[in-house]
């Protein structure tokens, strides 16, 4: 299953790369991409693990850039 999110307030390109790397390492994630310019996060992951993946991803985002808001797109 593929889920798309908007990362509002994403300003640092290096942080975007860090988020992408960290989310890709989460359990159940097949592929995650963060597009810095369009502020989009796309997560492809196992269906049943999706709720925890989203929760964990939100934490990752907050950890790296605390003012970024992850919204459903």
């Amino acid at each position: 299953m593929k889920k798309r999110f908007k990362l509002e307030g994403l300003e640092c390109a290096n942080c975007a790369a860090k988020m992408e790397r960290a989310i890709n390492e989460l359990d159940g994630v097949k592929e995650a991409t963060v597009n810095f310019m369009t502020q989009k996060l796309v997560i492809e992951g196992e269906d049943e693990k999706m709720p925890t993946i989203i929760e964990e991803a939100e934490k990752v985002v907050k950890d790296i850039e605390s003012h970024v808001i992850m919204k459903k797109a």
């Binding site: 640092c12 390109a13 290096n14 790369a17 790397r21 963060v34 310019m37 796309v42």
Partner: protein, 613 residues
């Protein structure tokens, strides 16, 4: 963003005042500390929270260490200057990114806000989402066409530039199709809605732009990988630099070497590098979309510059895909008579040939004049027109009916006609080459494309005529849709390892080929949904010359990206070397670093400009 700017200005003012009061030491230091807190308090705070979370090597931490370190060895002005410049660089970066995001959002601002729907005698404004197929909508001058439809009243000029990049307005009149997203310029048009909003052109394009795959270019992958290792390596070297020389070299002091190490930390942030690459590609993709070329990801824009072989589909791509009567050769009857009888005989068929005959004939067909229509599949048609028995069809039909026909070499689809069993001549119907096709091939060759190939299901005569006319290198004719993929596989073997193969088609019957090619380019994306789905690049207009434009944009973007990479890494390395030998100051280091950011970002902005390629 304004708040941040004010903070920088206030911190700078306090800093200047502090520099001026050099006679009261305690006051000066107090002022320095105040200035520092205003300038970099948030960075230090973020650094501390990150350390508590176990994250050490982030830029907040490094900047804090560099500046606090400067304070500790008594270099107050240096510490503040580094923090100030760093903040200026960050501010500039977010300003640039914001501006770039906005300018592309503006270019793509084609979403209609409302539709004027006719309900009875009234015209009401409603959300385009709520309009249904068959509803009648009114579009006034200056308004955006909200849904795809067919004009039923009025005529006007419409501006399609938001969809196609074409600046010349298009004329529409009764019977024409209008596409959502265009702007009506002068007349009032009434149209019948043919597609729901979700299926209309404007939704399709927005969807494509907003949800383009996030596939990254190789240059971007390289730079993020580089950034990952760059920071820790610089920090480790800085630590060694601070500790080892004072212990090993005679006369070397800790304060001197710590200063050099701090200068190292100043340039340890890879942000300028990391931001400039996606910014360039984003600009390139945005610039292309202004020209009516939609690119689905940075990786495709990058691959385009490495194209070696371009394979074209013929019908609808290099040719108009519209069949027209090219030649009429009567025998024993007049030209008009031949055309009239043939048009009548074929009038019941829904084959494209029938409509091109009707179009060439140009008058209404009076059904009362035709009777006894018999279609012979794969041969043609036999019908009675005005009491005469008309046979119209291919050679097979003539042979079957034992009629002697003209047997020369003809290019195109030929309709032989016999009236009352007497040969009456033939009509040649052919597709026309697009006006810019030859120029497109020429421009592609000028852009170093090694091979241009055409694939067609049409017969050899037609295929080689078109290929010759356009100057294509190779042509494969009489192919079934499945053969096209096979031919593509053969062509794959002819390119170099790094080179890319692009396929250009109109999306009809060639979705598998579009998907198989390194880069699938769909032409005339305004028509076909399958094309938009399967292709990596969609050309909104019907012009093949846009492919050369896309390649030029790709090459320019890549050039900017590599300039930025080499420039930013180069300057950083020079500053590192100079700092290690104690030749430069922290001032110079931060100045160079922020300067690189600004120049790289400005350079990246050039990618958005596609006016003079």
């Amino acid at each position: 963003m304004k708040k941040r700017l004010w903070r920088i200005i206030i911190a700078a003012l306090v800093f200047i005042v502090a520099l001026l009061i050099n006679n009261i030491e305690w006051l000066q230091i107090a002022m320095f500390v105040i200035s520092y807190i205003i300038a970099g308090g948030d960075i230090v705070k973020r650094a501390v929270t990150n350390i508590l979370r176990g994250k050490v090597f982030d830029e907040n931490f490094l900047m804090s260490v560099a500046t606090i370190g400067a304070f500790l060895i008594g270099e107050y002005p240096e510490g503040i200057a580094v923090m100030l410049f760093y903040q200026v660089g960050e501010l500039f970066q977010s300003y640039a990114v914001d501006k770039s995001r906005r300018s592309i959002a503006d270019a793509m601002d084609i979403r209609p806000d409302y539709a004027n729907v006719k309900r009875g005698d009234e015209v009401i404004k409603i959300d385009p989402d709520e309009v249904q197929i068959g509803d009648i909508i009114v579009i006034k001058p200056g308004e955006r066409v909200p849904l795809d439809g067919k004009v039923i009243e009025g005529n006007s000029m419409v501006d399609t530039s938001a969809l196609t990049g074409e600046s010349v307005p298009r004329e529409v009149e009764v019977g024409h199709e209008i596409l959502s997203g265009c702007i009506n310029i002068n007349g009032v048009i009434t149209a019948e809605v043919t597609k729901e909003y979700g299926e209309s052109t404007v939704s399709k394009i927005l969807d494509l732009v907003e949800n383009a795959s996030s596939k990254k270019s190789q240059s971007e992958q390289f730079i993020t990988r580089f950034a990952r290792y760059y920071t820790p390596i610089v920090v480790i070297i800085a630590v060694f630099l601070a500790i080892i020389p004072p212990l090993v070299i005679d006369g070397a002091t800790f304060s001197d070497w710590i200063y050099r190490a701090l200068a190292f930390l100043v340039v340890s942030c890879p942000c300028a590098l990391v931001v400039s690459i996606p910014l360039s590609f984003f600009g390139g993709i945005g610039g292309a979309s202004r020209k009516g070329i939609l690119v689905k990801g940075s990786n495709y824009l990058e691959a385009l510059a490495e194209t070696e072989i371009i394979v074209f589909d013929k019908t609808g791509t290099l040719t108009k895909g519209v069949f027209n009567v090219q030649e009429v050769h009567p025998k024993g009857v007049s030209r008009e008579e031949l055309l009239e009888l043939t048009a009548y005989a074929e009038s019941y068929s829904n084959h494209p040939i029938s409509s091109s005959l009707k179009q060439a004939y140009g008058k209404e067909i009076d059904n009362g004049r035709i009777s006894d229509v018999e279609e012979i599949s794969g041969h043609g048609v036999i019908a009675t027109v005005d009491g005469k028995k008309v046979m119209a069809g291919n050679i097979k039909l003539m042979k079957k009916k034992n009629i002697a026909y003209f047997d020369g070499e003809l290019i195109g689809t030929v309709v032989h006609v016999a009236v009352d069993n007497q040969y009456a001549g033939y009509i040649v119907i052919a597709d026309e080459v697009k006006p810019d096709s030859a120029q497109a091939i020429m421009e592609l060759k000028a852009a170093n494309i090694k091979q241009t190939v055409m694939l067609t299901g049409d017969n050899k005569n037609v295929g080689s005529k078109v290929a010759k006319e356009l100057g294509l290198d190779k042509v494969y004719a009489e192919l079934l849709p499945a053969d096209k993929v096979e031919k593509l596989e053969e062509l794959f073997l002819q390119k170099s390892k790094k080179g890319k193969l692009a396929f250009v088609g109109d999306g009809i019957n060639d979705a598998p080929v579009l998907a198989r090619a390194d880069i699938g380019i769909a032409m005339g994306g305004l028509g076909s949904d399958a094309a938009i789905e399967a292709a990596d690049i969609v050309i909104m207009t019907d012009e093949p010359s846009k492919i050369a434009t896309a390649i030029k944009i790709s090459k320019k973007t890549l050039k900017i990206a590599s300039q930025n990479t080499v420039f930013a890494i180069g300057i950083k390395i020079i500053v590192l070397i100079l700092s290690a030998f104690g030749i430069t100051t922290m001032w110079a280091a931060i100045f160079a670093d922020v300067g690189v950011t600004i120049i790289a970002v400005l350079n990246a902005f050039r990618a958005l400009n596609v006016k003079n390629l």
